[in-house]
Every structure is written in structure tokens, then in C-alpha cells.
């Protein structure tokens, strides 16, 4: 702690670029964390605009605004941008800011590679966005890029493949950095089982990323060679098999689902104890459950493709394995609630989002169990029920956890308290409009409305109108978030070093705002 005060930032470390070059050349984990967070927020709004394009078209049956081809581009790019441009980089931003501060390290292990992994992202994002303007437009094969659709599309598909390659490389480098930092740079005395849970979840997530991003790279490289270099991996006429693409994609895709939620579990596991003023219930079981979920995530992939045809025994295997993931996930939800039990609870915005997360994510978990049942899934495959399910886990799960974490650590990052009133408005409007948007989709799906269609039968009109109203409300509510952040960065009540009275951890022992360099002399953990 003393070291952090003594080296209060700037002068002690010689020349530092200013202006734009500071951000281009920075190797500081806090700068890079900020870059990641700003980037992901920007992509979140681009992806959100695409979503509003989708919902505007679906407000009424019939074609209102877009041709079907462009509608498919909207759904595809919404998915790709939100998954690879918004959610994943946002969590890496949190990792960059928080992991070194939380384990008592002065920076990330590979500071220059850290810069490189961030600066790969903007060109990849440019490729994705620019693909709308090439002949034929952006890829419209769905975010899953299934062959043979993806082997037939125009140059927009090639841009998407290139963008995904670059983003994958960025993710792999980020993961190497995170693993090395956590394993080698912890403060003396901080054993693995004393690490904050956010650090644990990121350690496990980073291993998942390293395991599966190369699999995605392999799949899209095979796509690329099928498209341009005469191979037939996925072309049945040439002896290949389009279903092979689905297996490879989902072997990446399912762990990817956990990559997008495990750090969220970590954030919630930091916040719930703070605002319950109690230690986390069952710390070690949380670590074990996270590891267990990570292992199970590799043996459930074919539940995404029950309808493509597989032996009954295989369907049963993937159904059982999928349902068993509910056990460690249930342990986690139980532990969060047990932490709150008899705690001295207060509901500031981070806690509101964390509680919202637990409640709404659990609904997404339950609909996941419904979909895991093979015969049910065969009915519901590619309907709005699936769309509702994965938005419950990705929006109310990952995104709400990100909001919770942002409000929780903003005072540490900026040195100012955010406007609690704005935070509460943001939470309640998000919570209400989220459910207005996505809850009716369950009913539309159960009634048989297929996903990825610009037009639909008249009986789905009411549900879709409600969803569209909710979506625009949800989108507008996010402007409150931006305003709250800008207001907090520009000023406000001075935050204490330990902003939250119930907070534990090394990050609360450094000043607010956290100085440019922290923990140059590592703290000693007893």
C-alpha cells in the first residue's frame, strides 16, 4: 500500500507519451483495460443498433424496412459483434484493470503483447463493419457460419473470416498473458486458494480460450480453403460433410458460452459478499464448481445440433451430460444466496445488477435445461424459444454482470462515485425492458415462430410487437449507462480508497483513482 502511495503515478517512471500516442503505445494494464472497455462499449452500441434494426423490421408482420438478405446480415452481424466485439473484450478489459491490482502485481506479465492483443481488435472490428459495404454485403450465414451457407457467400464472408482470425489471435494472446500473470506474479503469500474469485474464474476462462480459439481458427480456415482453394472439407459433392463444420464449430462454441459467463460469475462473486457484508459462502466449492463447469463444457457440444441427425445413443449422451451441468451451476447459485442469507444487505447499483443477474440468469439456466431434453429440443430447434434462452444467459447473464462490475469498480478507476440515482434508473429500466423484450419470445418460440426470419405469420404479431417495444426501451436505457460513466469520469463525489464498506481485497488498499502504477512493491499476504 505504501508503495502505491509513494509512487503516485507519473514522474517516477520517466517519459510517457501524451495524447493519442499514449494510447497507441501504452503498455500499462490500466490504460489497456480502459481501451478494451471503451472498445467493447462502442461495439455494444453498434451491435445494439443492428439489434434495433432487427426489432424494427419485426415490429409488424410483412416487410417494413429491409429486404430478407439484409435482414439476415443484421442478425448475423449482431451476433458476431456482440460475442466477439462486445462481451469478450469487455471481460478482458476487466481482467486487465483488476487482475494485477487484485493479486498484488505491478502489471500484466507481457506488457507489450498486451498492447498488441488490444490493437488487433480495432482492425478486426473495422473489417466486420466494412463488410456491410462490399458487394453482396456482410455475411448472412448466422453467427454460427454454418456450411454450406458460408461456403457460398460473397467477399463479406471473407472479411468476417479474417476478422475472426484476428480476434482469435488477440484472445489467445490475452489468455497467455492472463495465465502467466496469475500463475507467476501473485504477491508473496497469495496462494491459489486465497485468490479472489474473479481471478480464479478468469484463470479457468483463459485456459478455455486457449483450448478452443484454435479450433474456431481451424474451422474458419477450412471454410476459407473450401471457398477459394478447391478443398472440399464441407462440400458433400466433393466428398466432404457440412455436418463436420457444425461439430467443429460447436466444439469451440459451447466452451465459448462458458468463456462469456465464467468471468461474470467471478464479478458477481466479488459483489455479493461486499454488499452482504459477509465472506463468500463456500469459496472452495465455488472454485471447484467453476473448474467442473469448464471440464463439462467440452463434452456437451452436440446438444446444439440434435436435429442434424445422430444415433439415439449419442443424443442421449449429450442430453445427460448437458443436464449434469446444472449441478455445479446450481451449487454456485446456492452459494450466492447462502452468502446473502442473514447478511447485512444493501442494494446499491452493483448489488442490484448482481441480484438481477442471479434471478434472470437462473431463468436462462432453466430454459437451457428444457432445451437439453432431446425430444423437446427437436421441437424448439431454431425457434424464438432458443433466442429467448440465450439472451437470458448472455444479456441478463454476461451483460448484467459487466454492468454490475462496472458500477462496482468505477469509483476505483475514476476516483469518483457514480450517480447512484442514474445507476438505479439504469438497472430498473434495463431489468424491466429486458424482460419485456425477451420473455414474450418464449411464447413466440413455443408457438412455432422460427428465428432469423424478417416476416412471420399473423399469430405471432402481438408477441413481436411487445418484444420490439421492449427492445427500443432497453436500447434507450443503455444511454443512461453511458451518461453515468461520462459523469463519473468528469467528476463527482470523491471516492474513498475502500469505496464499499464491506469490500475485501487488495484493489481496495490502493488509492482511488488507482495510481498509474500500483504494487511495484508487492504487498505481503498473511
Amino acid at each position: 500500500m505504501d508503495a502505491a502511495h509513494v509512487h503516485n503515478g507519473h514522474g517516477a517512471h520517466g517519459h510517457r507519451n501524451t495524447g493519442l500516442m499514449r494510447w497507441v503505445t501504452t503498455t500499462n494494464h490500466k490504460d489497456i483495460g480502459t481501451l478494451y472497455l471503451v472498445f467493447s462499449l462502442t461495439m455494444f452500441f453498434i451491435g445494439g443498433l443492428l439489434a434495433l434494426g432487427i426489432r424494427a423490421e419485426l415490429f409488424q408482420p410483412g416487410l417494413q424496412f429491409w429486404q430478407p438478405e439484409f435482414f439476415n446480415q443484421l442478425t448475423t452481424m449482431h451476433g458476431l459483434i456482440m460475442v466477439f466485439g462486445a462481451i469478450m473484450p469487455a471481460f478482458v478489459g476487466f481482467a486487465n484493470w483488476q487482475i494485477p491490482m487484485m493479486i498484488g502485481a505491478p502489471d500484466m506479465a507481457f506488457a507489450r503483447m498486451n498492447n498488441w492483443s488490444f490493437w488487433l481488435l480495432p482492425p478486426a472490428a473495422l473489417l466486420l463493419v466494412a463488410s456491410f459495404f462490399v458487394p453482396g454485403g456482410a455475411t448472412a450465414a448466422g453467427w454460427t457460419l454454418y456450411a454450406p451457407l458460408s461456403t457460398q457467400m460473397g467477399p463479406g464472408m471473407d472479411l468476417a473470416i479474417f476478422a475472426l482470425h484476428i480476434m482469435g489471435a488477440s484472445s489467445i494472446m490475452g489468455s497467455i498473458n492472463i495465465i502467466t500473470t496469475i500463475l507467476n506474479m501473485r504477491a508473496p503469500g497469495m496462494t491459489l486458494m486465497k485468490m479472489p474469485l474473479f481471478v480464479w474464474t478468469w484463470l479457468i476462462t483463459a485456459y478455455l480460450l486457449i483450448a478452443v480459439m484454435p479450433v474456431l481458427a481451424g474451422a474458419i480456415t477450412m471454410l476459407l480453403t473450401d471457398r477459394h482453394f478447391g478443398t472440399n472439407f464441407f462440400n458433400a459433392a466433393g466428398g466432404g460433410d457440412p455436418v463436420l463444420f457444425q461439430h467443429i464449430f460447436w466444439f469451440f462454441g459451447h466452451p465459448e458460452v462458458y468463456i462469456m459467463i465464467l468471468p461474470g460469475f467471478g464479478i458477481v462473486s466479488q459483489i455479493v459478499p461486499t454488499f452482504s457484508r459477509k465472506p463468500l459462502f463456500g469459496y472452495s466449492s465455488m472454485v471447484y464448481a467453476t473448474a467442473s463447469i469448464a471440464i463439462l463444457s467440452f463434452i456437451v457440444w452436440a446438444h446444439h445440433m440434435f436435429t442434424v441427425g445422430m444415433p439415439a445413443a449419442t443424443q442421449l449422451f449429450f442430453m445427460y451430460a448437458t443436464m449434469l451441468i446444472a449441478v455445479p451451476t446450481g451449487v454456485k447459485v446456492f452459494n450466492w444466496i447462502a452468502t446473502m442469507w442473514k447478511g447485512s444487505l444493501t442494494f446499491e447499483t452493483p448489488m442490484l445488477f448482481a441480484c438481477g443477474f442471479i434471478f434472470v440468469f437462473s431463468i436462462g439456466g432453466f430454459t437451457g435445461l428444457v432445451l437439453a431434453i432431446t425430444p423437446v429440443d427437436i421441437q424448439l430447434q431454431d425457434t424464438y424459444y432458443v433466442v429467448a434462452h440465450f439472451h437470458y444467459v448472455l444479456v441478463a447473464g454476461s451483460l448484467f454482470a459487466l454492468f454490475a462490475g462496472a458500477y462496482y469498480w468505477l469509483p476505483k478507476w475514476t476516483g469518483h462515485l457514480y450517480d447512484e440515482r442514474l445507476g438505479k434508473w439504469h438497472f430498473w429500466l434495463s431489468m424491466i425492458f429486458f424482460n419485456v423484450t425477451f420473455f414474450p419470445m418464449h411464447f413466440a418460440g413455443l408457438a412455432g415462430m422460427p428465428r432469423r426470419v424478417p416476416d412471420y405469420a399473423l399469430q405471432f404479431a402481438d408477441f413481436n410487437m411487445i418484444s420490439s417495444i421492449g427492445a427500443f426501451g432497453f436500447g434507450l436505457a443503455q444511454l443512461i449507462f453511458v451518461y453515468a460513466i461520462v459523469k463519473c469520469v468528469r467528476g463527482g463525489e470523491k471516492a474513498k480508497d475502500k469505496t464499499w464498506e464491506g469490500a475485501e481485497g487488495l484493489e481496495w488498499q490502493v488509492p482511488s483513482p488507482a495510481p498509474y502504477h500500483t504494487w511495484e512493491t508487492p504487498p505481503v499476504i498473511r
Partner: protein, 71 residues
Amino acid sequence: MVVSDPAADPRKATPLQVAKAVLSAFIGIRRRAAHERDLVTLTPVQVIVAGVVAAVIFVLSLVLLVRFITS
């Protein structure tokens, strides 16, 4: 947090102890006393090997169950 038990020989977990630790991790529940004993006696290599073996056994047992049901 690390409790040293003079009676326990450190770094000498039996395979059964490792199996118990890993199996309880699969469910996500572990008694605190047992967990603290694990911290002293288990090595990372033991945990990783046992975890991989347990995952293989888990998959094989599911396969067996499925075969039994579909036969």
C-alpha cells in the same frame, strides 16, 4: 488459512484422497476441514491427472449408461 497438521505427512495424499477431492470438486461441494487438508497434501500434478482421469471415467460411464438404455 493454511492449517498445518503435524500428524499429517505433507505432500503424501493417497490416490483415494485425491479421488475424493476431485470427485467432490465435480459436484462442487467440499467440507472445509477436508478442503484444508487437501491444500496441504495435494500437489497440482496429482489434481490435474486425477481430474483428467475422472473426466474420462465420467464420459465412459455416461456412454455405458446410454448403451444400457438403448440396447
